[in-house]
Amino acid sequence: MRSLASRRITGLVGLVAVGAIALTACGGGSSSTESSAAPASSAAAPASSAAASAPAAECTDPTPVNLQLQWFAQAQFAGYYAAKDKGFYKDQCLDVTILEGGVDIVPQTQLAQGNADFAIAWVPKALASREQGANIVNVAQVYQKSGTLQVAWADSGIKTPADFKGKKVGNWGFGNEFEVFAAITQAGLDPANDVTLVQQQFDMKGLLSKEIDAAEAMTYNEYAQLLEAKNPDTGKLYTPEDFTVISYEDQGVGMLQDAIWASEERLSDPAYQDLTQRFVTASLKGWIYCRDNAAECADIVTANGSKLGKSHQLWMMNEVNKLIWPSPAGVGVMDPDKWAQTVEISMGTKNLEGATVLTAQPADGSYTTQYAEAADQSLEAEGLNVTGDAFAPITVTLNEGGN
């Protein structure tokens, strides 16, 4: 924590410097001497707000930034698309290129190899890469909750993970299975003998055809796919009453998901620190915008080439908002308890091969809250609500096929 605190101070000093430059540009020489003469602590707040609201006109040469996503454009990443479309990146003098993922693209690897400046990745997977030598740091924990579910038919009798006994339990594998294993273990079952684990496709056909008794699903995607499918018996769409849903977050085995990761090596460079600060501030502003303008953000994502149907996109936007808000400590700021829970499951839960996500406690500095905190400070100074304490989700009606 000591190193974190000292880093935080360097971050603030950096902010002051940026603010000073902005002020010089605005008000001429006299104000700049004033602000640089003021003590760091009192200058921090106004300086950072000045940096955040520095108009684009002063930005002659925006810094190019590559952001690597985990997957194709969809509302899961709405905050970044909104920050780009609404000019929040431009306000920070950034020229952000959003790189979509693919089947074999591993964002944290692209980041560690220097092919991207920032990456969006789930915490356990990124920590596993980190343990294998990828020098990456979590600079903003955007999603505060896990969105993973296990969905079963309402008439299957499966209500808790303890009911998985003797059932066919679907999971995606490739590191997406650890919440499932943790829940099974927590229920006192042995994953190897008490349940039949089935490798699941990335669609919900297996559950609908009853090849799988309980299927893994994300609140914002696969669960919606179920509710967009037509029940051949009734000719109508399936309804939530047809299914039972087990939320791993509610079971206490949720693991942290989408976060912004930065390169650890480059974070020793003040220029990259400044870049990270500006990127995090603008990105979090994008997420705040999407909290308050869910429908517009869904449309922004679609306009950026997502092929998801309109109602599916809006559903995803709304569910993602539920995973982010409220953020009691401020958007993007890590909840240490959730981090500890994620690390504990990563180290303690074995999959069928007996492997765990992590073999040792991740080193100090695997995450830092300084950038998110400074960002929230300046966003609050702009008059934005950074905790979303009054957040209320909207109601989305799914149409057939997500249209």
Binding site: N66, W71, F72, L99, E100, G101, G102, V103, D104, I105, V106, T109, Q110, Q113, G114, N115, A116, F202, D203, M204, K205, L208, S209, E211, N221, E222, Q225, L226, E228, A229, K230, P232, T302, G305, K307, L308, G309, K310, N399, E400, G401, G402, N403
Partner: protein, 296 residues
């Protein structure tokens, strides 16, 4: 009289043959459709080892219906239009990769034929290049590509896909071309030598014509490899605009609209067929020139 009628007769014969082969092709498609539906009927009567429900195997007419629907509600483009444009784009990228692959493959073959130590030294690397798994290579190439910008030209992910396609395409061609260039018998080569022909002349007048029968099948394999490379690279790295990406996009919607993904799969098949047709046309052009060169 016979002079004026002969071409007409020949033309009508060609037309009839063309129609017949079109008929056979249509019959083939019909056969597949009938078999698909037959499997579904049998599957509803007895338990088959594969899922024949409408979820996994939608009816052919459902697929046709799906193809005509708008891609996203409210958009002007139908699924079919989206698939056709993605198909053409992938075909273009694959053919670009094929052309680059052929050029590199030929060049390598000529070098390896001309200098024996290159054949010894280079051939193992050429073979080793194909043992690198594509799914490991593709993200690497696309990732490096994101960083490349030569002057004002920004490297485009499409170039990365083309590069991967050419990487797969050059190999069959270089090996085939090498065998072709080495095909002339000792007698032929001695004849050229007795004419005091330069190596360049031997290459042009003897070795290239002799290699054509080897080149044509090699090109067919190369074109297929380029198509596979393009589609797999698009799937693997999520590069936008091509048919590989569309297959994945539509596969995500399989739960609610299973027919959609099949339309995209047919698009992927069409890329392969069109590429094969283009190579067949190339083949005809090459072999038609062959007798002329002999007579010259």
């Amino acid at each position: 009289m016979s002079n004026t009628q002969a071409p007409v007769r020949r033309q009508s014969g060609r037309l009839r043959r063309g129609l017949a082969s079109l008929g056979w092709a249509l019959a083939g498609v019909l056969l597949v459709v009938v078999m698909w539906e037959l499997v579904k009927v049998i599957g509803s009567l007895v338990t088959l080892p594969l899922d024949t429900g409408d979820q996994a195997m939608p009816h052919v007419w459902t697929m046709l219906q799906g193809a005509m629907q708008p891609e996203v509600r409210g958009s002007d483009t139908t699924v079919l239009q989206a698939v056709v444009s993605a198909t053409l784009r992938s075909l273009l990228v694959a053919m670009g990769g094929f052309a680059i692959g052929v050029a590199i493959g030929l060049l390598l073959a000529v070098i390896m034929q001309r200098f024996w130590f290159f054949e010894r030294g280079l051939l193992p690397f050429v073979i080793a290049s194909q043992t690198v798994p594509l799914i490991a290579l593709a993200p690497l190439i696309v990732g490096i590509g994101n960083r490349i910008s030569i002057g004002p030209v920004q490297w485009n992910t499409t170039y990365s896909v083309m590069f991967i396609a050419s990487y797969l395409a050059f190999f069959p061609l270089s090996v085939g071309a090498l065998r072709g260039l080495q095909a002339p018998t000792a007698t032929h080569i001695e004849l050229m030598r007795s004419y005091a022909a330069t190596p360049g002349q031997t290459l042009r007048k003897l070795r290239f014509p002799a290699s054509v029968p080897y080149l044509v099948p090699a090109m067919k394999v190369s074109a297929a490899a380029a198509v596979v490379g393009t589609v797999v690279a698009e799937i693997s790295t999520g590069v936008r605009g091509g048919i590989g990406r569309l297959v994945i996009e539509y596969a995500r919607e399989m739960t609610a609209s299973p027919a959609k993904v099949y339309v995209a799969v047919f698009g992927a098949i069409a890329v392969g067929l069109l590429a094969a047709a283009l190579v067949a046309a190339l083949d005809m052009a090459l072999t038609r020139n062959l007798p002329k060169e002999h007579s010259a």
